[in-house]
């Protein structure tokens, strides 16, 4: 491990104070890090960090920094909550996992009881799309979802160990029956009694993902505490292109979710308590990460830049095909295309690293039938995400005029997350 520069350590841990100001809770008094009191926090055997930032790209980059720079044998707990975002796993496909059109429209604010909200509150909230560095499936985050992350030596790695820690914290807060299931998720039961029977339904409240490097292992998880947006999550995570895409990589497993109804501060305090009970943690080994200082650190800034790049978000996608009709490789029956689309229309695309590698488009209204192969050929090498309007892309790809391209282009736009 390279030597840790003192200034970096200071930058990461200098500011004490309340992190979760949205939910004011009494917090243990953290030591104030000052210039002349440099504890080389990252070298401690047990470390606890809180981030007040809600920027998912920044929080994941701080987390990655802790993964790379904390002492090899140390145990680190990092806690943060993000603004609304959809987070896909390292080897997932955003076109398949996410309703990108819906995502770009944002989230409508939840209805408030009584008088309608003032105009500025009626604007939809932006939802970020994030690809994390760990494996696993797609999750939704917002301020009512608390993320916990434990970094430890590989020798201590166990997929359930820290999920159990969080489940204990939840049970301690009165969330009875919180337990870790066989998928390493935390679930709770809800007994809904009807007149005829009692049906027990199980809901996921926390999901896990892992990243293992040569020196360290990271287990991070979500915990739905009080998200006001759960009603929208299912639609956000349902892609209209799902029946047409066959992807390599990792597909999400859909689960019914719910909030546990605990405040962020209470949850954080309980998780910290459980973590401290597991590891011999010095009273002063807890620090708040200063957002501006973290952004100013070159390694973290580079991490943010990488996570925000379209290259990472889209082009990291494992190879996939999009076919309007059943193929040998993907023989599923397809839903009917809109009636406005010519019945002879066919589209088969192979996309590798976000780039169209192979295209076979047929059945458009060509001025000259000899144009057909050129349309396909000219789409090759284009980045799927950079095609803003398929009407334009098809017209540009065709040597001659194309008849009414509107319905086909609009439909493809909708499939790939652009304005239909």
């Amino acid at each position: 491990m390279p030597p840790i520069r003192a200034s970096k350590v200071l930058a990461l841990c200098q500011t004490p104070g309340s992190v979760y100001s949205a939910v004011p809770q009494p917090r243990p008094c953290h030591r104030a890090f000052t210039q002349n009191h440099d504890p080389a926090m990252l070298k401690r055997s047990v470390q606890i960090y809180h981030s007040a930032s809600t920027d998912p790209y920044l929080n994941l980059s701080i987390e990655h920094h802790l993964l790379q720079r904390s002492a090899p044998e140390s145990y680190v707990l990092f806690l943060y909550a993000n603004r609304p975002c959809v987070v896909i796993g390292r080897n997932q496909n955003p076109w398949l996992e996410v309703n990108l059109c819906q995502l770009s429209q944002g989230l409508l604010p939840p209805p408030s009881p009584g008088s309608p909200p003032p105009p500025h509150r009626r604007r939809p909230q932006v939802v970020d799309l994030v690809r994390r560095r760990s494996g696993g499936g797609t999750v939704f985050h917002d301020g009512g979802n608390l993320n916990w992350s434990v970094i430890c030596p590989p020798a201590a790695f166990d997929r359930d160990r820290h999920a159990e820690m969080v489940a204990r914290a939840l049970r301690g807060l009165g969330v009875g029956g919180a337990r870790v299931n066989e998928r390493h998720d935390i679930v709770v039961d809800d007994a809904a009694t009807t007149t005829t029977a009692t049906a027990v339904k199980t809901f996921k409240v926390s999901g896990s993902a892992y990243k293992l490097t040569r020196l360290r292992s990271l287990h991070h998880g979500t915990c739905l505490l009080s998200s006001p947006n759960l009603a929208h999550v299912s639609a956000l995570l349902r892609s209209p292109a799902e029946p047409f895409i066959k992807a390599r990589g990792v597909e999400s497993v859909r689960s019914a979710i719910r909030n546990v109804g605990v405040g962020n501060g209470k949850f954080v305090a309980a998780v910290v308590r459980e973590f401290r009970a597991m590891y011999d943690c010095a009273a002063d080994a807890e620090a708040d990460v200063d957002e501006d200082a973290a952004r100013g650190m070159p390694e973290i800034a580079r991490g943010v830049e990488e996570l925000k790049s379209l290259e990472w978000i889209y082009n990291q996608t494992p190879q996939f095909t999009f076919s309007t009709h059943p193929t040998e490789d993907d023989p599923r029956p397809r839903p009917p295309l809109p009636e406005t689309i010519p019945s002879q229309f066919r589209c088969h695309l192979t996309i590798r690293h976000g780039e169209i590698q192979d295209a076979a488009i047929a059945g458009l209204d060509y001025a000259d039938d000899a144009d057909a192969p050129y349309v396909s050929q000219n789409l090759v090498k284009q980045h799927l995400n950079r095609i803003v309007d398929w009407r334009e892309a098809l017209l540009l790809a065709s040597p001659g005029q194309l008849g009414d391209i509107g319905p086909v282009g609009g439909w493809l736009n909708g499939m790939f997350g652009k304005t239909p």
């Binding site: 090899p72 020798a155 790695f157 997929r159 990243k211 293992l212 390599r248």
Partner: protein, 174 residues
């Protein structure tokens, strides 16, 4: 002995080694070695990668060990190395995903990636079936070009027997 094994792992653990310390069944003696024409030497890292070096010390093949592959669980995706890339021993060159875990694959020695096993993109489960097979259809990950530095790096790695003892120690400890 156990504490020594622990120290070793703390000094050079890995993405893969995080997964393999649980008490898994021992490596079976009959590994899926493929007999290469050039009498390749197979060496292992503590992070559970293997490398075959050709007799002329110029080229090699890299993969992950059967022991590691068992502990990984079902491999659902293999992120292959980048062809043409030069890497140092210990650099992350790719990753495997299994059970929500993205685990780095590290270069066992300094080398240049000349070819990657594209079969793994389509059939990642090959890693579970024949992880130590360096032939066509096997679970090898990359073919590499090696220079003097790489050959020197090889000295630090374990031979088949030493690796067998190393993994037996790991399984015992847990």
């Amino acid at each position: 002995m156990a504490s020594i094994a622990r120290c070793l792992r703390v000094t050079r653990p890995s993405g893969l080694s995080a997964l393999v310390k649980s008490p898994v069944s021992r490596v079976c003696a009959a590994r899926a070695f493929s007999a290469t024409a050039t009498n390749a030497v197979r060496k292992y890292t503590k992070e559970h990668e293997w490398i075959d070096l050709s007799a002329d010390l110029k080229t090699g093949v890299i993969g992950i060990s059967e022991y590691a592959a068992k502990a990984l669980g079902d491999v659902v995706f293999v992120e292959l190395p980048e062809e043409g890339k030069r890497v140092q021993a210990g650099d992350a060159i790719g990753a495997v995903e299994s059970v929500k875990s993205a685990a780095d694959i590290n270069a066992p020695i300094s080398c240049k990636i000349t070819q990657v096993n594209l079969l793994l993109e389509d059939k990642p489960g090959t890693i579970n079936q024949v992880p130590e097979d360096d032939s066509h259809g096997g679970g090898w990950i990359a073919k590499v070009q090696v220079d003097e530095v790489g050959v020197k790096d090889l000295e630090k790695l374990m031979d088949d027997q030493a690796y067998k003892e190393f993994t037996a120690g790991e399984a015992e400890e847990h």
